[in-house]
């Protein structure tokens, strides 16, 4: 059993927090990780900043731009994460980013470094399912890295089943049409119908709902239909103007959980 599956063995709804590596300062990555884990985040996604993040809204675009200006890159990130498992032994850590920087680093290099650091899973929204299966699955497996795939309200049932088959971690349910951080603009009932439809499919993997989850209310709402939820943009926003970003992150996590 991997760390992600272990986390879902535990009772209670799961809070998965996303933050951008190297934001707000280059060396914020590790203090942020420790602070989020201590404050009670059940899973943590580290965003690997990309110059052109197509699936992200303005908040994560901005944190990515700042992180890149701070000098964040793959080599720096893996150096920062070198001893992270001594500090955070249990909390699952996932890397989230876009395919191009991973390709340039080399997919095999990337997997080797990630596994060595104790990373558990990888989310690459622009890596298509077929390309993953044909080109990367074997490498991911060799390093025991779990891919996480997105499901949207438009994803067809057969495709959801295939994604479920290829997954040994969790399914990332995108809450509605839009990029990260977008508010739910769907008509009342539409979102619930979508979540219920997925719930009724009795999938193998647990589900986390993400995109537009921003606070305690929206977290609890999402938890009615899934094993938990993912918060990114709202956390990044909570760091705005904070002198002590890790402390602000911890306060944010507490405000969602308590």
């Amino acid at each position: 059993m991997n760390r992600i599956q272990q986390a879902f063995e535990k009772k209670g709804k799961k809070l998965n927090i996303y933050f951008t590596a190297g934001y707000p300062a280059l060396d914020s990555t590790v203090p942020m990780l420790k602070s989020l884990a201590t404050a009670g985040a059940d899973l943590i996604e580290i965003g690997m900043p990309f110059s052109d993040p197509l699936a992200d809204g303005p908040v994560i675009q901005q944190s990515s731009t700042v992180a890149l200006q701070n000098g964040m890159n793959m080599r720096v990130l893996f150096t920062q994460l070198k001893d992270i498992r001594q500090e955070i032994p249990e909390t699952p850590i996932l890397l989230m980013g876009y395919l191009n920087p991973v390709m340039q680093f080399g997919v095999e290099n990337f997997c080797r470094e990630a596994a060595a650091a104790g990373v558990d899973g990888v989310i690459l929204p622009d890596l298509p399912l077929d390309d993953y299966v044909d080109e990367y699955q074997e490498i991911f497996r060799r390093y025991n890295l779990k891919p996480v795939f997105l499901i949207t309200p438009q994803t067809a049932e057969a495709r959801i089943r295939r994604i479920d088959e290829l997954t040994d971690s969790f399914l990332y349910l995108v809450s509605g049409p839009g990029t990260t951080g977008g508010a739910n603009t769907q008509a009342a009932g539409v979102q619930e119908a979508y979540f219920q439809r997925i719930e009724a499919m009795q999938l193998r993997n647990p589900r986390l709902i993400g995109f537009g989850i921003a606070d305690k209310a929206s977290f609890q709402q999402a938890c009615q239909y899934a094993e938990g939820a993912i918060i990114g943009s709202a956390l990044i926003k909570a760091l705005d103007g904070a002198d002590d970003a890790p402390a602000a992150a911890a306060r944010f996590v507490s405000s969602v959980l308590n």
Partner: protein
């Protein structure tokens, strides 16, 4: 015989192409992929498309023998007059086809990106024609340098939304258009303006622009006695006018294909958009292609004085033509392009678009002889660039 024209079922030209898109776009792109060939082949679609190309766009566009340029370069030069298309550039060939496609897919809302504004105008135009809602994303830098086109789009009833991220040019406008499509997955069709983006867009746009070379072959036969010239020359931003001009010559090895990129201030200046020289394989806007990027895989900001060529990638077909050596790539600096604007204006009475001027500026580098036939794709007219031409009047003299 190998063909350069058609990508594989998954949209690959050699190692380039594919569809690297987030799951949110998958249903849209899949719907397009599963339907575009059938729709394009449908006689009713073809009837309407051909009618619009003739009566609305004004096709066929003339193939004009440029006698004074020919004399100067001591070869036989023809200009394919895409500047005479309705709205002033080749871009409308694609938008006419895609709006008919969008209707058949049941879409009611159209989005587009634009650099020079020509694709935005061409999209706004067909949306007005069909009574569809139209939103065009344009980098704020480009809105400034191509102001007349912003006003044209607005007059045509389109909403122009500024893209304010990155270098605020074509790449950033494309990012915003893709994000809009992610947010509006059901009712919206994205009319991409070049042979870029995820499969099937590169193939779709190439097929819709292929009318350019289809006409060229007939016109060349009439004027020279042979369908085949020695050279076909076109500028490349994303590469749609070049794809259209090359298409029916791709599998004719005797025809030299010349793609002209923007070198900006110079290849080594750090301010350039010459992707075939400066790019490495990478992923941009859903396609694996040659891409200007740093060693960490971050996309670098391109530069060209010409908004339509100011893009850090090229279409996957062109990346393949470059890798295979099927097309020769030449890069032209801002200054050279500006001089070509003056030359074409004064020798032929045609003021070309700044993008097009890059193709014209390559004339001196072709090595064409007196008996050779050279076709330059005159992709657009220069009205939109008048402010730039006035600003750089000294270079143009």
């Amino acid at each position: 015989m190998t063909t350069y024209k058609e990508p594989t079922a998954r949209g690959y030209y050699g190692q380039f192409g594919g569809a690297f898109i987030p799951e949110m776009l998958y249903p849209n792109v899949e719907e397009l992929r599963d339907n575009y060939l059938n729709i394009l082949a449908d006689p009713e679609f073809q009837r309407e498309y051909q009618m619009l190309l003739r009566d609305f766009v004004g096709r066929p566009t003339p193939l004009f023998e440029a006698k004074r340029l020919s004399k100067k370069y001591n070869t036989r030069i023809f200009l394919k007059r895409e500047d005479l298309c309705h709205t002033g550039a080749h871009k409308v060939n694609n938008t006419v086809g895609q709006i008919l496609l969008a209707q058949r897919l049941g879409k009611t809302r159209i989005i587009a990106e634009t650099g020079a504004g020509q694709h935005g105008v061409a999209t706004a135009t067909v949306c007005a024609l069909m009574g569809m809602e139209c939103i065009v994303y344009m980098g704020s830098v480009d809105m400034e340098r191509q102001r007349p086109n912003v006003e044209r789009m607005r007059l045509l009833g389109a909403e122009v939304r500024p893209a304010t991220s990155g270098s605020q040019t074509l790449k950033d406008a494309t990012n915003e258009a893709i994000r809009d499509w992610i947010s509006n997955p059901v009712d919206t069709h994205y009319i991409i303006g070049s042979v870029v983006g995820p499969h099937p867009y590169p193939d779709l746009v190439a097929r819709l622009q292929a009318i350019i070379s289809e006409e060229m072959r007939k016109q060349l036969l009439e004027k020279t006695g042979s369908e085949l010239p020695q050279y076909v020359v076109a500028c490349v931003g994303g590469g749609s006018n070049a794809a259209g001009a090359f298409y029916h010559f791709l599998d004719e090895p005797s025809v030299k294909l010349v793609a002209v990129e923007a070198a900006g201030h110079g290849i080594t200046s750090g301010h350039s958009a010459a992707t075939s020289v400066l790019g490495k394989p990478g992923i941009i806007h859903g396609s694996r292609t040659l891409l200007m990027q740093d060693e960490d895989g971050q996309i670098t900001e391109p530069y060209s004085l010409s908004a339509g060529l100011d893009y850090p990638g090229i279409g996957p077909l062109h990346a393949y033509l470059a890798a295979e050596g099927r097309a020769q790539f030449i890069s032209i600096e801002d200054e050279q392009a500006l001089r070509a604007v003056a030359e074409c204006s004064r020798l032929e009475g045609i003021i070309p678009a700044l993008e097009t001027a890059h193709a014209l500026a390559a004339l001196g580098q072709l090595g064409a002889g007196p008996d050779d036939v050279v076709v330059i794709n005159l992709s657009g007219r220069g009205d939109k660039d008048l402010e730039t031409y006035m600003k750089y009047a000294d270079s143009i003299q």
